[in-house]
């Protein structure tokens, strides 16, 4: 399973969410699908994307928050899973792409990822840890169909959920992101000033198609 295909599958659902991603490959690939002002890419401070998501979720309980995390980052803030479970925000979805390696901090060297494996490569089960931490839902998926069902179910659902998706350790086609950290840091809270849409409207139980979205639709929606 490829991370980029997973991102394509959920992209249309992210329009009205607050989306917080970790650094590196995930950020670059989400960006490549079309940047939106409601996407925040945390380019450092590995592990804290989920904490930022928690702060948003508690502050705007009517907005769906989607954290797009990775195995290396989650392992750097594993205790945060217990904090999340304890706060249990109903409006937060925690997606973890688990490629079993710290790809984005060592991919520069050919084969580097083989030396940069994380503990999930030797048996640590992040979905199991999330469940034991107290997440009401935490699921491990390996196939696209299962990912779509789990991730869309979580985004359109109404409880704290975690989806761990085992994906290939593959670099993105490009790391190019033409949005500066500080630019992103200001546009993101502006986007969060827009009231979220009616929640019932957001709950679309149908499976979405994988069409490529047009770029920067959120900026357009800000003008509406």
């Amino acid at each position: 399973m490829k991370r980029i295909d997973c991102l394509k599958a959920i992209y249309p659902e992210l329009e009205d969410c607050a989306v917080v991603t970790i650094m590196g490959a995930v950020a670059a690939e989400l960006y490549s699908l079309g940047h939106r002002a409601n996407f925040f890419y945390l380019e450092h401070a590995m592990g804290l994307a989920s904490s930022i998501g928690l702060g948003i979720a508690l502050s705007q309980p009517n907005r769906k928050v989607v954290v797009i995390d990775g195995d290396g980052s989650v392992l750097m803030n594993l205790g945060g899973l217990t904090t999340m479970a304890r706060s249990r925000p109903k409006n937060l979805v925690h997606l973890i792409f688990d490629n079993e390696t710290l790809l984005s901090v060592g991919g520069g060297a050919p084969g580097g990822y083989k030396w940069f494996t994380t503990a999930t490569s030797t048996g640590s089960d992040l979905a199991g840890i999330a469940r034991a931490a107290g997440y009401p839902r935490a699921q491990l998926v390996r196939e696209m169909e299962d990912f779509e069902e789990a991730a869309l179910g979580a985004i359109n659902g109404d409880e704290l959920s975690c989806v761990v998706a085992k994906v290939e350790a593959e670099m993105p086609k490009s790391f190019l992101m033409d949005v500066h950290m500080l630019e992103n840091r200001f546009e993101f809270p502006r986007a969060l000033q827009q009231p979220p849409k009616d929640k019932r409207e957001l709950r679309r139980p149908t499976r979405i198609t994988k069409q490529q979205p047009t770029t920067i639709p959120a900026l357009k929606s800000l003008e509406e």
Binding site: A18, V20, F40, L42, E43, H44, A45, M46, G47, L48, A49, S50, S51, I52, G53, L54, G55, I56, A57, L58, S59, Q60, R63, N77, G79, G80, T82, T83, R86, S87, M181, L182, R185, F188, P189, L192, Q193
Partner: protein, 172 residues
């Protein structure tokens, strides 16, 4: 009872007075009343952390979502949170109000607090984080207001160091 109830209430009221509505915390003795009062206040969201660095992320998220927040911790908790402070607050220019109990200073009886006590101010200074002491009850409200003003105008972390003289009452 050794931890000052009255002064804890003062600090809490000042914090709430400058608009704080979300507090993240890891316990330590001097914080017992502050955490209790926050927990009892239906207008305050209290997030109990596994470790302090999380609080930096939570405060950043709250800021993005338009909510003022604060972190309650010990100075060793501040030292635990350095990477988050640099990688989130300083890198992204995000206001962060840190209330830090300043253990390991004059009067400290626990040997293990003394090393952290030596390094708290030098590390704050190394990161160019503006800080001030809270040691007199009269100072609490004005200093809290000034700290929050600077955090918001500079989009930076600021620290108030809660002192023994304020937080602790020697048993009569």
């Amino acid at each position: 009872m050794p931890v000052s109830v009255a002064n804890s209430q003062l600090v809490y009221d000042a914090m709430k007075g400058v608009g704080v509505r979300l507090v993240s915390a890891l316990p330590e003795t001097w914080l017992v009343h502050l955490i209790r009062i926050a927990d009892d206040d239906p207008e305050m969201t209290l997030v109990r952390l596994a470790k302090e660095e999380e609080g930096v992320g939570i405060s950043a998220g709250a800021h993005f979502a338009g909510v003022k927040s604060a972190m309650l911790m010990q100075n060793h908790g501040f030292l635990q949170a350095i990477n988050g402070i640099v990688g989130v607050s300083l890198l992204y220019k995000i206001p962060l109000l840190m209330l830090i109990t300043d253990r390991g200073t004059f009067g400290e009886k626990d040997p293990w607090q003394t090393e952290g006590g030596k390094y708290t101010r030098p590390v704050l200074d190394a990161l160019h984080i503006a800080h001030d002491d809270l040691s007199r009850p009269d100072d609490v409200e004005p200093k809290m207001a000034k700290a929050m003003s600077l955090a918001q105008s500079s989009l930076s972390p600021v620290a108030l160091l809660l002192q023994r003289d304020l937080m602790w009452e020697e048993p009569k």
